[in-house]
Amino acid sequence: MTAAANAIPLLEARGLSFLRSDEAVFGPLDFSLHAGELALVEGDNGSGKTTLLRLLAGLLHVGEGALDWRGRPRRRDDAPGEIHFLGHHLGLKADLSPRENLRVAIGLHGCRAGAGIGQALADVGLAGYEDEPVRRLSAGQKKRAALARLRLLPATLWLLDEPYANLDRTGIELVNRLLREHVAAGGAALVTSHGAVDFLGSEAKRIRMHA
């Protein structure tokens, strides 16, 4: 995890903040994230974690400060498909089944070599629910269906907003396993959490938000 430390970071923020009606939502942040690194964004409710992730995903505009992607200022259509964002809203259509939802995602983003939808759904514990409409799944099962995207899509940087919420213990284990494998394969991830669940131990960087 330290091998890449000298290389150009995937993502680098210098004095980064987001403005809403000309007021900063979170204080200026400085951090960098290299390939093969994990970062945990910590902060209380309302401290701006979701906002930060949406900003990094390119959904919001940088207010002040600078954000670099692979050493160059991040622009909107840089890094197409290299970033995967999982927010509070899971991006699943309630009327489609998990399988159909994943098929759409693959159509848009392409597929990791060797990955398959059935396998990915089984991995996240949804075997038997592949063809049920998402509407009929329980809260945790919906979350798992969204996590199956992580298995399938060829993104380098994962931005996960509270991936642990609504999951049971095996679900939390699952997220940790996915993160570990992703990092081992040279990916990077930024995860928000309230610190109440076990995050991947101490391997990760921490980014603290102050409300």
Partner: protein
Amino acid sequence: MSDWIPLWLHKLGSPPVFYRFAGALRPWMLALALLLGAVALYGGLVLAPADYQQGDAYRIIFIHVPSAWMSLFIYGVMAVASFIALVWRIKLAEVVAMESAPVGACFTFITLVTGSLWGKPMWGTWWTWDARLTSELVLLFLYLGVIGLYHAFEDRRQGARAAAFLAIVGIINVPIVHFSVNWWNTLHQGSTVRILGPSKMSGDMLWPLLTMMAATKFYYLASLFGRIRADLLAMESGKDWVRQIAAREEAR
């Protein structure tokens, strides 16, 4: 072009600089507008001869035509400012665009009303769905859409960006208004005043018209500057330069 334009724009576009600049110019603009307006009205209503066909009814032209021109001109200004606002994200450009819209809407409304008033004696009807009239009405709706969209967003700057986008899209309507008399055969009068080449209008009528045109331009600038100053103070209320101004006001 990529570098110096934003640099230059950012310099003049800095709110405190523009605030002072606008404050200094505004009274002069207003005075000029009133003076020229008075002269033009005197020239138009008193000096110019009655028309051999329309009698005195035609004198409404001195309101109708300048406000019609302004309705188009202001839309143009708004669209350019909108473009700058969207591309370079300059706050002042957003403010210029958004504060132009109400003024432009007023001029458009005046055009429609005076046109209707004039239409009744001329064409025997207040309104027909002729190409120029319709497109001018669409212009009014566009202005109203821009104003409405701006205020519909909770975040002012986001609202400004959305409305700016609408303003840019709507610019297609401006040539339609202007050229509709050439493209379709309409009830409305073709163009008679030309900037290049000889006008089809007699000089007695022309000079008050052109003076009035200048007066409306100055009026627009004066009212725009006033609105922008108020807006800048509201938007930048947390910044140092506004606090300084507030302190100075209190001291007085």
